[in-house]
Each structure stands twice: as structure tokens, then as C-alpha cells.
């Protein structure tokens, strides 16, 4: 799960990570009020779940409350487009109004899980402000890493080492060491999957603060962090994805026009791949789960056809423990309720597949049947093409 910058900073502050003075404004008046309190010079930062905000006009410097108000008026409600939002952009609903600081150096600090090493890794770099992937590709020698021993935890010497590698000394080095340790504690304490401070700021006075902050969390651990779960912003998510998550369905909207509904994540990805291989493009990823129920099938069907970009759909079910006749029942039920709006190719395989096929045939609905994945994909792609021409 992702959260906003201001929310990440709230969490980090609780763990003792130093952040700039600031507050959230949902109106221009409030922005002016905050600027009067912490200014005069403040930075207005649009709160959306995407990076690259500065280039898109989502971060602005204001000198005094009046200018803050004027700028905030334009920013709140604006459609912010960055390289991460897609062409439709995101509507800005809130601004983080922060004190403007005098920058001496911009550094990088990030924490993720290293899958190959099966450990948490803390990465620090002198190249703050750049995307870390770019630094890793161009100047890997400027990224310093420390792996956390799962039994001993993150050790003090590791934090000090990283701070020295960043070229810090004296009081600033001490502050940086504390900062890194506090960031790790926040990462571990919240079951985060990413904690990134980019840039990590060293001010002209030698203080160390998080200028920006990004945190993502392990979805599997959210149930033990209700305070983080409460930070979910549904406005930042695709409405159909929100709907699907209510029924524990894994749904991701994509750019193509061939809808698909599959049981199991690997088979769902493979179905998307074979659609592309057959000359089409998948409109979505939809995994109803390895052990799907009739109700889940019905809900998934509804979500699938409510996407207006879907011109034809492929349902690919490999019944194991799940019975194909039960799945067929769910499909027919949903199709009778809301109608077959687009051509649908159904491939049922495995347990009780013959009974399942019979249910589809006897429903009187015009499903296209297929025996193999290949046949299914080769049928659905031209159907989508024809339907797209018609509409």
C-alpha cells in the first residue's frame, strides 16, 4: 500500500526522524495561515501518490502568506501530470506547506528488502535528488549499502559507517547516524516494503532532515497496523481496482481491450501474455484466486464487463480443487443478471470440465468455447477487434 508524503512524514516523526516544520492545507486560506505561522518562506507541495511532482508544477516556493495563498489557489484542484501519473494526471486535493530550508547538500537514503539476500538493506548515496535506479546504473560506486542481520537488528556502527561514507562529520554526522537508525526503526515497526528519503537534506546550519519522504507497506502485514490501513486514499486508486479489492479479487487495469478473468496469478499473467502473443492486448489482470467461489466469479464477471475499454473477454479457469461446474454456474448467473455485453470466450479445464461446459451450453447464452489456452486466445483477439470496429 502507498501513502502520501505528509502521512509518511507523520509516521517518521513518531519514530524520531527529523522532518521540516509543516502542515497540510486543503484550502488556500489554510495554506496562508500555515505560511504566516511557519514562514515567511514556505514550500507548497502537492500531495499525490506519484513522483516527479516538481517538474509538473506540483512544488512551488512562496514568499509570505499572500503569495502562498495565491499559489495554493491555483494548485488545489489542479490536474497534475507527471511521468508517473499517466496522461490523465491526478487531481490535487491537499498541499503540504513546509518551511523553506537553506540547502547545503542533497543526499539519498532508502530502505528496501533485498530478496536475494533475504535481508533488509539500507542504501545511502551522495547523489540526492536523482532517481536511485539512475545512480545505480550510472555511478554504482556512489551507493553505499548495509545489510541488516535478522537476529541482531540494525547495528549502531552500520549507521555511523553510512554517515561517514556520505562525507559527514562532527555534529552533522551524529545527527545523520541517529536519522538513519530512526528511519530503520520506522521501516521495521510498520512492516514497510520501502522507505525512501530523497533528498535527505543537510542544511547550511548542518542539520539533517527529510526533505521528501516516501513509504510503501507490505500488504500482507497491514492487518496488524490499523493506523496505517486508515491512511489508504481511495481517490488515488482506480475505482474498479477499489471495487475488486472489496471482494478479495486481484484486479489491475491495463491499456488493451481484451478483458481476462483467470484463477491464479501465474496463469493470469500467462493468459495476458498469450493474448499479446496472439496479436491482442490485455485490458486487465484479474486473478480470482486459486480457490475461487461462485460468488467471487460473479463479482469478477461484473467488474470485468463494467470496464468500457473491454471489447471481448477471455475466461480461463484451470479447475483443481475448484470445480469447473461451479465456476460455470457463477458465470451464467452473472451473465443472466447483467447480460453478455461483449463476446466472451470461456476455457474450462480440469475438475468437472464437462459438466461446466454443459452448463454454459444449456444456458442459451452465446459463449464461445475453447479447449486450450492457445485456441481461446486466437478466438478472443479477432472478436475484440470486430467489436471495437462496431462501437
Amino acid at each position: 500500500m502507498k501513502i502520501h508524503e505528509y502521512q509518511a512524514k507523520q509516521i517518521l516523526a513518531k519514530y524520531g526522524v527529523q522532518i521540516p516544520k509543516g502542515e497540510v492545507a486543503e484550502t488556500a486560506e489554510k495554506a496562508a495561515e500555515i505560511a504566516a505561522k511557519i514562514g515567511p518562506r514556505v514550500v507548497l507541495k502537492a500531495q499525490i501518490h506519484a513522483g516527479g511532482r516538481g517538474k509538473g508544477g506540483g512544488i512551488k516556493l512562496a514568499n509570505g502568506a499572500d503569495e502562498a495563498k495565491k499559489l495554493a489557489k491555483d494548485m488545489i484542484g489542479m490536474r497534475l501530470i507527471t511521468h508517473q501519473t499517466g496522461p490523465e494526471g491526478k487531481i490535487v486535493k491537499r498541499l503540504l506547506v513546509e518551511e523553506a530550508l537553506e540547502i547545503a547538500r542533497e543526499l539519498y537514503l532508502g530502505i528496501v528488502i533485498d530478496r536475494a539476500r533475504e535481508a533488509v538493506v539500507i542504501m545511502a548515496s551522495t547523489e540526492g535528488g536523482m532517481e536511485i535506479e539512475k545512480v545505480a546504473a550510472e555511478k554504482p560506486e556512489l551507493i553505499f549499502k548495509e545489510y541488516v542481520n535478522p537476529a541482531a537488528g540494525f547495528a549502531g556502527f552500520q549507521a555511523r559507517k553510512l554517515a561517514f561514507q556520505l562525507g559527514l562529520s562532527g555534529e552533522t554526522h551524529k545527527q545523520a547516524g541517529k536519522f538513519i537508525t530512526a528511519l530503520y526503526r520506522a521501516f521495521e515497526g510498520t512492516d514497510a516494503s520501502l522507505a525512501e528519503i530523497n533528498p535527505l537534506l543537510v542544511t547550511k546550519q548542518g542539520n539533517v532532515l527529510a526533505l521528501d519522504a516516501k513509504m510503501n507497506f507490505d500488504d500482507n502485514a497491514l492487518a496488524r497496523h490499523p493506523e496505517i490501513q486508515a491512511m489508504r486514499d481511495l481517490d488515488e486508486e482506480e475505482p474498479l481496482e477499489v471495487e475488486a479489492s472489496k471482494y478479495n479479487l486481484n484486479y489491475i487495469k491495463l491499456d488493451g481491450n481484451v478483458g481476462c478473468m483467470v484463477n491464479g496469478a501465474g496463469l493470469a499473467m500467462a493468459t495476458m501474455d498469450i493474448i499479446k502473443y496472439s496479436g491482442g492486448m490485455p485490458a486487465n489482470f484479474l486473478d480470482v484466486g486459486g480457490g475461487v467461489s461462485e460468488e467471487a466469479v460473479t463479482n469478477a464477471f461484473k467488474i470485468l464487463v463494467s470496464d468500457k475499454d473491454v471489447k471481448a473477454a477471455l475466461i480461463n479457469i484451470f479447475g483443481g480443487i475448484v470445480r469447473c461446474d461451479m465456476v460455470a454456474g457463477g458465470i451464467v448467473k452473472a451473465a443472466k443478471e447483467i447480460g453478455l455485453k461483449v463476446p466472451m470466450v470461456v476455457r474450462l479445464k480440469g475438475t468437472n470440465m464437462d459438466a461446466g461446459k454443459k452448463i454454459l451450453e444449456e444456458s442459451g447464452l452465446a459463449f464461445y468455447a475453447a479447449d486450450t489456452m492457445k485456441e481461446a486466445a486466437e478466438k478472443v483477439v479477432p472478436l475484440a477487434r470486430q467489436q471495437a470496429k462496431r462501437s
Binding site: 483467470v262 501465474g266 499473467m269 501474455d273 498469450i274 502473443y277 492486448m281 480440469g350
Partner: protein, 291 residues
């Protein structure tokens, strides 16, 4: 022949009294698996679906002779269940549970270091040596005894591959789901090593997916040391970056872990890579012919 499990394997089911545990234990028994014990804390001394239940895995090992474990406990308790089995000296631990927090798995894996147990999963359909033993939730009837080994990060996609292999008349020596999570027990390389030593395996199918670098690591190993034909498929060739595709581990992050990189690495190692999932079986045929 087979790897990991066979007709001599004796299974304890952790979480046997739960809904999932009960259902799948019955299916395993029907398949012919020797389920010798169940384990649910507080229910020791009772019998469930005809199987003796113990309070601890250690007891199940001592009194019922269990040497393998199937874990069906809820996600927040699963890492603990893994550690309990390892401490009890269980040889093969198969963790079916999906949704275990990553931090829990980091700790469980650290706990396993230096112990003799091997872990399969979590978030896996399990392991099957057709005709001998099944530990997991995969449908028994699509499998057939044979000489093809299968290692996969997926569930139903593995069934698809198994089905293709069975239809072509090959059958499987052992099929293993290594799990769809970012941190899992045995990985491709660990299992390739076992298949290399297994006289009953002629070729191996490796089904990977986007995310992580396990396939690239396996490719390097295959190139250097593996002496049997390998067929590969990578799911997620059309997956967008930055999105978790159902499996917690299936995510392209920071431009890394794409299907393209993995397919290139495998091809570079001489693996027969199927671009379409429909061609996995055919690639096996091709690989065996050239052998």
C-alpha cells in the same frame, strides 16, 4: 525416482483441524499420502478425521514418526509453525499458507540457517511425486508418474504445464511449487541440484515470473553445472512495472525483474524458452529429442 518426497514420506499436518487443513488432508489421504499425524495446540490427544492430533510437532515426530510437514495455519502464525517444524527436526516443511508478512519470513529463514530442514513455499500449491506422495493442494488426477521434473513459482500455471506434459505421455518425477512470495524456502537452484542427482528425472521445466532475480541466478547455475535439458517459461511478459501481480513477489521494481531480462538470461544458458504458455509441453518434446 523422485526428489524430496516419496512413498516412505510420513506427514504431519499443522493446522489439521481448520477448514482448509481438514479438506486438503482428506484429499492427500485419498491420493495415498501417509498422513500420520495432525498438530493443533490444545487439541493433543484427540483424533480428527481418523488421524491422531498432537500439541506439538516434536511430539508428532516422536510418537507418529512424521518426517515431513504440511502447514495450513493462518498467515500471522505460519512463520512460527515453520520454525516449530524445523526445531523438531522435520526434514521437508511445505508451507501452503498465503499472505505471510515479509518480515516474518526473513526471521523464519534466519532461524532455518544451520538446521537440516528444507522449506518449500510459502504461498505454494505444494510438492507432488505422482503415484507416491502429495503434500499440498494441487489436483492429483492431472499428474502422472514419469521422468520430467517441474519447478514453478505459480499454482494454476503449474497445473497447466503438468497437464500438457501428462497429455504428451511424459509424466512427472516430482513437481514443486516454490511459492509466489518475495522470500521463499528452496529456490530454483536448490531444486535443480536435487534433480541433477535424481536418476529418475530426464529433463526439468522451470516456470518463473516477473520480480526478483531467482531466474537469473538459476540461469547462471544451469550454464555452469546443470547437465539435463531445461525448458523455461516466464509469466508476466505484458505486466506493467510497479504493480504487484497477485503474488506478493510478482512485481517489477526499479526497472528490475522483467520477463525480458529473465528470458534472455535463460536463453543464454541454453534453456528451451517457451514464449507462449501453450508451448511448454512442446518444448519438452523438442528438448528431449535433441538430447
Amino acid at each position: 525416482m523422485s526428489i524430496l518426497i516419496d512413498e516412505k514420506t510420513r506427514v504431519v499436518v499443522q493446522g489439521i483441524t481448520g477448514g482448509e487443513g481438514t479438506f486438503h488432508t482428506q484429499k492427500m489421504v485419498e491420493y495415498g499420502t501417509k498422513v500420520v499425524a495432525g498438530m493443533t495446540p490444545g487439541k493433543g490427544g484427540t483424533t480428527h478425521i481418523g488421524i491422531p492430533v498432537f500439541n506439538t510437532v516434536a511430539e508428532a515426530r516422536l510418537k507418529a514418526g512424521a518426517n515431513a510437514a504440511a502447514i495450513f495455519v493462518p498467515p500471522f502464525f505460519a512463520a512460527d509453525a515453520i520454525m516449530e517444524s524445523a526445531e523438531a527436526g522435520i526434514e521437508v516443511i511445505v508451507c501452503i499458507t498465503e499472505g505471510i508478512p515479509t518480515f516474518d519470513m526473513i526471521k523464519a529463514k534466519a532461524f532455518l540457517r544451520g538446521k537440516s530442514s528444507v522449506l518449500i513455499g510459502p504461498n505454494t500449491p505444494g510438492v507432488i511425486s505422482p503415484g507416491k506422495c502429495k503434500i499440498g493442494i494441487m489436483p492429483g488426477p492431472i499428474h502422472a508418474p514419469g521422468r520430467i521434473g517441474i519447478i514453478s513459482r505459480s499454482g494454476t500455471l503449474t497445473y497447466e504445464a503438468v497437464d500438457q506434459v501428462t497429455k504428451l505421455g511424459f509424466g512427472q518425477s516430482t513437481a514443486i511449487g516454490i511459492g509466489g512470495d518475495p522470500i521463499v524456502g528452496m529456490k530454483f537452484i536448490d531444486l535443480l541440484k536435487l534433480f541433477k542427482a535424481d536418476k529418475g528425472t530426464d529433463a526439468v521445466i522451470m516456470i518463473g515470473e516477473i520480480g526478483g532475480t531467482a531466474e537469473e541466478e538459476a540461469a547462471a547455475y544451469i550454464k555452469k553445472e546443470f547437465n539435463k535439458p531445461v525448458v523455461g517459461f516466464i509469466a508476466g511478459q505484458t505486466a506493467p512495472p510497479g504493480r504487484r501481480m497477485g503474488h506478493a513477489g510478482a512485481i517489477i521494481s526499479g526497472g528490475k525483474g522483467t520477463a525480458k531480462e529473465k528470458m534472455e538470461a535463460l536463453e543464454g544458458a541454453g534453456v528451451y524458452v517457451a514464449k507462449s504458455p501453450a508451448d511448454i509441453g512442446l518444448k519438452v518434446k523438442e528438448a528431449l529429442k535433441k538430447k
